[in-house]
């Protein structure tokens, strides 16, 4: 009775403190304390200190590296010699250098350390780690393009102390190597475009024994981070001491640099040494699982491609830093006053970049362009081109963490059909597994995985499931047992199996650097091993940075040991793609004779990943800012050679409102990889669940993607043979228009002339599209004309409209019949949309194949060039015949062009009612009807050719 009063008095007191305890509101920003700033990373600090030192000394600074002229040899396009480093203690260290001139037009500079090559060093802590500098990155990354230039030759006229090599297409390139201090200038047509060590920041921290000194440090160097580094409660034992490498790369006359993903930042990279609008830290590349990553930041993310393009009016050059260790890049832009470059095209700015990695060799490729397309092509020759994906992979993917049962999956599948929204792939995040053991199914929630996959296959849909590299540490799990009994797991610094925490709790990591692990991983994917999986199942490799919940910076300790006794430090950034590589091999042939193109989505990546996989930008958030940043992120990936990229549509964390979700779909259809995904704590948001009018808006967006799939697939094909991005930024299409260089919120789809500008801000119902050239641009939907070079044009963008223009001069292939999945569009006829350029001409291409096998490598494809010249539209073959050509053409014999729409045709067509159709092999010409439709005001008129019914695989002419 009486008790109630005192209790309430107590609550009173307690409550006050509760109140105080609640003042802190959780934020949605990255946990900075989990990731290093430059100042917290020993080698970053040291290399920046070097740069500061050099800058402070100005012209009196001299790089302590010089080429020993007596050691120089030039043979077979390769210059070799010894670079001498003079230490502060006046020691002379020998650093073998190789400069290779390649047939592709790129040049490669490798610098190693002689002592370590010979193994003439001692490793601390009795560690067994490899004594060499890691020299196997190329094994995982390079594909070819290393043929030495046959024409490269020494320029005999070089003055003393210089070596000059002429190389490249038409011998238009020249490398001028100054011996002392060491510097390399790369010229094209006699003009310098790239300078190495021009700032004198070349740095190769040589091996040295640890000397326990007392009192003064005689070298004058800061040794505090040489032997041990601690961060976040973890201590790195650094058995080899300091070993970083760095060099500066200057682009004289260039004010824009692009590339080096993955960062949530603008396309045009910012300066990194402070100042308004600039970053304080260098761009960092150290593949990490960054939770709730922040935007407009140089912080590292999940993947890394140390490939940079520098661009100025009509010239693009590039560098590729082939090093798998943690890497930072500083960028400074300086007025080019001291060295006036009078040549046209150069801006008055020099961009100075400074690259440094914690370990490994200096291994740098230099590309001299001069166009972005040539850079893409040459870079692709080295690292490989985008895989030509299975056709379903470029359609719409529906993902959620998690579809919770096999019945749930079937229900979602049925609902898409019910609302007639197409989709091709449904995804299962980790909770399909039995207790987070990969290659198993939860027996309670997925009792019938085969039935589920069979159901999906009825409309030729696919399933993608998550398989991660961390293997649950559990005795009764056969995968874990095999991993350990075969000794295929990553080891800790003491050589024991490394144990860390990830989704399943205590886990071990498969070490895909080990060839035996490759074979084993391959076996796990066979139908008899991964039971319950069918041939329409594909793989998602997540957490392969690797993400380790209790590791330093959420990844592995750097002194962990991989196959070949390499430290994790040496290989960290390629770790992710070794898993993807193993999975790729596994998916190629899951049973004998069934060879198909694999599909893998990876979160972590490095140069070369484009050959095997698609990527997405990881765990983004349902905010407008995240929607906006997805465009520059996807564009950047494209110019860095990995165009099969996308962001989670809708945003992974939190709940998007309907407007945001709809706009995200309207933007997402322009991601080469188009997948909606959501966190387990979010509300369901499959498109059919969204109330009208947004359901219709989203359906229209998805159907637009499907309608344009022929154009998308053609763009993918182009990327797969010459490395061009699938969606392209303004500078890439208009390399001479300086106004467009920094634009990263609008994009071009392949060569189609389609220019999209997704709305990425709330409550926005018009948008400004920038047009570089003087061609007419037509609104995709109503043919409104926009014309005027070098300015922005206001385009209406109500909620149900995607701002989308077509440049004059294109032929765009479409398939207009909506089907349940893209596979079911296989036999549908095409519609061709023509817009004419100033000369009344139009061009376009179409690539088609079976979308599944490798038959295209043996001619099993259709590749057409469409041309409109002198009132004749023609289709010419671009393909090369092979053993599979005839067979494929036969299967496609019934597939025709059902419709040709000519936007803004000549006025004279008003009186035309027929066109003449001449198909190769047909005995006589036929006619098709043509109808001209007049439109008023700013909307262009158009003409429609009905049923020319010419074969898509045939050569033909339509005469207007």
């Amino acid at each position: 009775m009486a008790g109630s009063r005192p209790v309430s008095a107590w609550t009173l007191f307690l409550s006050l403190l509760v109140l105080i305890g609640c003042i802190v509101v959780p934020g949605l920003t990255v946990k900075h304390e989990n990731f290093k700033t430059c100042a917290q990373s020993g080698f970053c600090k040291r290399n920046r200190a070097l740069a500061d030192d050099a800058s402070a000394q100005g012209t009196s600074w001299s790089s302590p590296y010089e080429l020993d002229s007596s050691t120089l040899q030039f043979k077979d396009g390769q210059l070799t010699g010894i670079l001498i480093k003079t230490t502060t203690a006046n020691e002379k260290l020998r650093l073998p250098i190789t400069v290779s001139f390649l047939e592709s037009g790129s040049a490669r500079v490798i610098v190693d350390e002689e002592k370590r090559m010979k193994g003439d060093i001692e490793i601390r802590h009795n560690s067994k780690v490899n004594k060499k500098r890691y020299d196997e990155t190329e094994k995982w990354v390079l594909m070819g393009g290393l043929e030495a230039s046959k024409s490269a030759a020494l320029n005999a006229e070089a003055e003393a102390g210089f070596t000059k090599v002429q190389y490249g297409p038409g011998d238009k390139f020249q490398a001028i190597i100054r011996h002392a201090p060491f510097e390399v200038e790369f010229q094209r047509d006699g003009q310098t475009h790239v300078q190495l060590n021009h700032q004198g920041l070349l740095n190769m921290e040589h091996w040295r024994p640890k000397v326990d000194k007392e009192g003064d440090n005689d070298s004058g160097e800061d040794e505090s981070t040489w032997w041990e580094e601690s961060f976040g409660g973890n201590t790195d034992s650094k058995p080899r001491g300091p070993e970083s490498v760095g060099i500066d790369v200057t682009f004289p006359g260039y004010s824009h640099v692009f590339g080096i993903p993955e960062h949530a930042d603008s396309l045009s990279l910012r300066e990194t040494r402070g100042g308004p609008g600039n970053h304080e830290n260098p761009y960092r590349m150290y593949n990490s699982d960054v939770f709730e990553y922040e935007l407009n930041s140089p912080m590292t993310l999940y993947g890394a491609i140390p490939f940079m393009q520098a661009h100025r009016k009509n010239s693009t050059v590039g560098v590729f830093w082939l090093n798998a260790a943690e890497t930072w890049v500083d960028i400074v832009k300086k007025p080019a006053s001291s060295n006036p470059l009078s040549l046209s095209g150069s801006s008055k700015t020099n961009t100075q970049t400074h690259w440094f990695s914690e370990a490994g060799r200096i291994d740098l490729f230099v590309f001299l362009g001069p166009s972005p397309q040539e850079i893409s092509k040459t870079y692709g020759q080295l690292t490989g081109y985008t895989q030509l994906p299975q056709h379903f992979a470029i359609a719409y993917h529906q993902c959620r963490w998690n579809y919770i049962t096999d019945e749930d999956v079937k229900d979602v599948d049925a609902k898409f059909d019910k609302y007639q929204i197409p989709y091709d792939v449904i995804w299962l995040d980790l909770d399909y597994t039995d207790d987070r053991k990969y290659f198993t199914w939860d027996p309670l929630t997925f009792p019938n995985p085969k039935g589920m996959q069979e159901k999906l296959d009825e409309s030729e849909r696919k399933l993608v499931v998550l398989i991660d590299p961390h293997i649950k540490n559990k005795d009764d799990y056969y995968v874990s047992k095999e991993l350990n009994s075969k000794g295929l797991a990553v080891q800790n610094k003491d050589g024991d199996v490394y144990d860390g925490w990830c989704w399943p709790g205590s886990s071990h990591w498969v070490d895909c650097f080990n060839p035996a692990a490759f074979t084993w991983w391959n076996s796990l994917h066979k139908y008899d091993k991964f039971q319950g999986s069918l041939s329409n199942l594909f793989i998602w490799n997540d957490m392969n940075e690797p993400s380790v919940f209790n590791g330093p910076e959420t990844t592995m300790p750097k002194d962990n040991i991989h196959y070949g006794d390499w430290e994790h430090r040496d290989i960290h950034n390629v770790n992710g793609i070794t898993l993807v590589n193993a999975t790729y091999q596994a998916l190629l042939e899951r049973k004998k004779g069934e060879v198909r193109r694999p599909f893998i989505l990876t979160r972590s990546y490095y140069a070369g990943a484009q050959r095997m996989s698609a990527m997405w930008t990881g765990d983004n958030q349902a905010t407008w800012d995240h929607l906006a940043i997805s465009l520059p992120m996807v564009l950047t990936n494209g110019i860095a050679g990995f165009p099969f990229a996308g962001a989670d549509v809708g945003g992974f964390f939190h709940n998007p409102d309907k407007e945001l979700l709809s706009r995200w779909y309207q933007a997402g259809i322009w991601y080469p990889f188009f997948r909606a995904h959501a966190h387990i704590d979010t509300r369901r948001r499959e498109p059919y669940l969204i109330s009208e009018p947004h359901r219709t808006i989203i359906s229209q967006a998805i159907r637009l993607r499907y309608q344009l799939l022929p154009a998308w697939y053609t763009a993918f094909h182009e990327a797969s043979i010459n490395g061009t991005p699938i969606v392209r930024p303004q500078y890439y299409e208009f390399p001479d228009d300086e106004e467009g260089f920094a634009i990263d919120d609008q994009l071009y789809l392949g060569n189609t002339g389609l220019l999209a500008k997704p709305v990425v801000t709330e409550n926005t119902f018009t948008t400004d599209i920038y047009i570089s050239d003087g061609e007419k641009y037509y609104d995709y939907f109503d043919y409104t004309v926009y014309q005027g070079a070098g300015k922005k044009h206001t385009v209406p963008a109500p909620e149900d409209k995607i701002p989308l223009l077509i440049q004059g001069g294109h032929v765009i292939p479409r398939r207009d019949r909506p089907r349940r999945s893209s596979a079911l569009m296989r036999w549908d006829p095409y519609t061709l949309i023509l817009t004419l350029n100033k000369n009344g001409e139009a061009d376009g291409t179409l690539y088609v194949d079976d979308g599944e096998t490798f038959d295209y490598e043996r001619g099993g494809y259709i590749h057409r060039q469409f041309q409109f010249r002198d009132s004749i539209l023609s289709s010419e073959d671009l393909g090369t015949k092979g053993p599979k050509t005839a067979e494929y053409l036969k299967t496609m014999a019934g597939v025709t062009v059902e419709r040709v729409v000519v936007v803004d045709p000549p006025k004279a067509w008003k009186d035309k009612s027929t066109v003449t159709v001449i198909e190769d092999g047909a005995k006589t010409a036929s006619t098709s009807s043509l109808e001209y439709f007049e439109q008023q005001g700013s909307k262009a008129s158009y003409a429609v050719v009905k049923s020319p019914n010419v074969g898509i695989g045939k050569s033909w002419r339509i005469e207007f």
Binding site: A2, G3, R5, P6, S8, W10, L12, F13, L14, S15, L16, L17, V18, L19, G21, C22, V24, G27, F291, E407, D408, D411, K418, Y419, Q420, D442, L444, E458, S459, W503, F653, H679, D681, R683, R684, L689, T696, Q700, R703, F781, D782, I802, D816, R817, P818, R819, R820, L824, M825, D828, P829, T891, V901, V903, F933, Q935, K939, Y942, V944, S947
Partner: protein
């Protein structure tokens, strides 16, 4: 065989009402009800846009001419004409401003041997045999990519008829059950009414009883008061002595208590700091259920309604109280100890309190109670054995008797109210759900079992460990709109009876769980499907005879129209 054939004839007869006008062969894909539009041989008039006329040869020529798609009943050429498509002006040349109305429901499959039906145009000639809708395989007439869809109507029709027969039987049985439910519901309603009448008469009796006992208590109390008055008086100064000791004791208690309070608060503050830091720093992406639960509980705890906290005033009061008594503060005991017995009335003792500031009195009372309870709870003070007040047994007995009579009256009143409001409550049409109330059905789904107790609750039961989670408590019967596919593949709205359950266990980062149980006619009470439509918003599809059509009219129970 023979039986099924006659059944087949029956079904076809229904749909061929228009067949009389269907003399010439209809174009491919045209249903009999549209045959009249496809009669002319020279020109075809678009059905919804009669202004548009095309040569009849353009019908089914695999090119979409009509803005309403009516010229392509047998192909997929007009399948893009849909609100869901990103239509451009050239998709309906010359008519793009016109409202988009589709003339045809789909491709008509004759399905000889089964029921005819429409398949959506987007499935025509896509290389997939849509036997569910088109058992004769005619939707794949173009045999794209070599697709061959054999006619399976014979087996599918047979199977369907068998199932249909089963369905009819089941419907008959369902209706029978429904009638039973109706009878039961009525019986229960009558029972309640009877019950109410019964209770009301009991209430009358109880009223009388209470009145009697009240009177009795009054009498006994009156006598008692006189007795108390005669009890002896104490000396003021003696009392003051006792009071002083007592006050001292209390003061020490308060001091000690305050110390303990401060210590506890200190610890609590430390704990809360740990927790709020934990909340900020944990990574929800790791999805550790244990951690999430802990964070959620913390959030609930932190968000709970708060009082005013320790006010400075009260703290000052407390400060005042714990000062040692003297002339300037508290009670001047000397004055009281030296006081003559002159004013010896015991009432004065009770007026002692009047010498304290009123807030102090209140505060002391509170604090004493709180101190006592605290000390008792911590085992420092023994709990008092019993109330030491000395009321006579007669009074106590009389009071107890009254109390118990009042209680039972209240109980009766409550019962009547309950019953009455139950009568007024919505139990659905003809009150049929009355008969189902509290009946529970279960469904197995993976690691959970789901339970639905009609008009009571919905639950998720974990199979491992068997822990229960409430998915909502019954709130009301409602009508809900469900999107279903029409025979022609259009999404249409259907109204269904639903039972709503709300305020279940609250969700991580979400609302309290709630469930909408959507009812369908069926022979058994059975959960067909459970879906989580949104985070923690569930829907259950349940069959029950209660919503089957018909049967309400008890007067004509024998009429069987099924």
């Amino acid at each position: 065989m023979r039986l099924s054939q006659s059944l087949f004839l029956l079904t076809v007869a229904g749909s061929s009402a228009h067949a009389s006008s269907d003399k010439a062969a209809r174009p491919r894909g045209v249903g009999p009800e549209f045959a009249k539009f496809y009669q002319e041989t020279n020109t075809f008039t678009c059905i919804s846009n009669p202004a548009v006329k095309i040569p009849f040869s353009a019908v089914n020529d695999d090119f979409c001419d009509c803005p309403d798609g009516s010229d392509e009943p047998g192909t997929a050429a007009c399948s893009h004409l849909s609100q869901n498509s990103p239509l451009t002006v050239a998709d309906r040349p010359g008519h793009s401003e016109m409202e988009l109305t589709l003339a045809l429901p789909g491709f008509y499959c004759k399905n000889k041997g089964h029921r005819p039906s429409y398949v959506p145009f987007q499935r025509v000639n896509d290389g997939i045999c849509d036997y569910e809708l088109c058992c004769d395989g005619s939707d794949e007439w173009a045999r794209v990519g070599g697709t061959k869809c054999e006619d399976r109507c014979k087996e599918i029709g047979k199977k369907w008829r068998k199932e249909e027969e089963q369905r009819q039987k089941s419907m008959t049985a369902a209706l029978k059950k429904k009638k039973e439910l109706l009878v039961e519901a009525r019986r229960q309603q009558a029972d309640i009414q009877k019950n109410i009448a019964q209770l009301q008469s009991e209430i009358k009796e109880a009223d009388l009883k209470v009145a009697g006992l009240e009177a009795a208590l009054k009498v006994v109390e009156e006598q008692e008061r006189k007795v108390v008055r005669t009890k002896g008086k104490g000396k003021v100064n003696a009392l003051a002595g006792v009071a002083k000791a007592r006050v001292q004791e209390l003061r020490e208690g308060v001091l000690e208590l305050r110390q303990q309070r401060d210590d506890t608060l200190e610890r609590m503050k430390e704990l809360e700091e740990i927790l709020s830091k934990f909340k900020i720093e944990y990574n929800p992406n790791f999805n550790d259920e244990g951690v999430k639960r802990a964070v959620r509980s913390w959030e609930d705890y932190a968000a709970r309604e708060l009082g005013d906290g320790i006010s400075e005033d009260k703290e000052r009061d407390l400060e005042e109280i714990v000062k040692v008594d003297g002339k300037d503060s508290g009670v001047d005991w000397e004055h009281w100890e030296n006081e003559d017995d002159g004013c010896a009335e015991s009432d004065l003792v009770y007026k002692l309190a009047a010498y304290f500031p009123p807030s102090l009195v209140q505060f002391i009372e509170d604090k004493v109670l709180s101190a006592r309870s605290f000390l008792e709870d911590n085992g420092i003070l023994a709990k008092p054995n019993s109330d030491s007040s000395s009321e006579s047994k007669a009074v106590t007995d009389a009071r107890d008797a009254l109390k118990s009579a009042e209680d039972s009256l209240n109980r009766l009143n409550n019962k009547v109210n309950d019953q009455q409001s139950d009568l007024e409550k919505d139990y659905g049409s003809s009150g049929i759900f009355r008969a189902l109330k509290g009946q529970c059905i279960e469904k197995d789904a993976g690691e959970y079992k789901y339970e639905h107790c009609f008009l009571d609750s919905t639950k998720q039961i974990q199979k491992k460990g068997g822990s229960n989670m409430s998915m909502g408590k019954f709130t009301q019967i409602s009508i809900t709109t469900v999107e279903e596919l029409s025979e022609t593949g259009d999404v249409i709205n259907i109204e269904k009876v639903a039972l709503e359950y709300e305020r279940g266990q609250s969700c991580w980062n979400g609302p309290n769980r709630s469930t909408k149980v959507i009812l369908e006619c069926g022979e058994q009470n059975e959960i067909l499907k459970i879906a989580e439509d949104e985070k923690c918003v569930y829907s259950m599809l349940v069959t029950t005879p209660a919503v089957c059509p018909g049967g309400e009219d008890e007067a004509a129970p024998s009429k069987d129209e099924l």
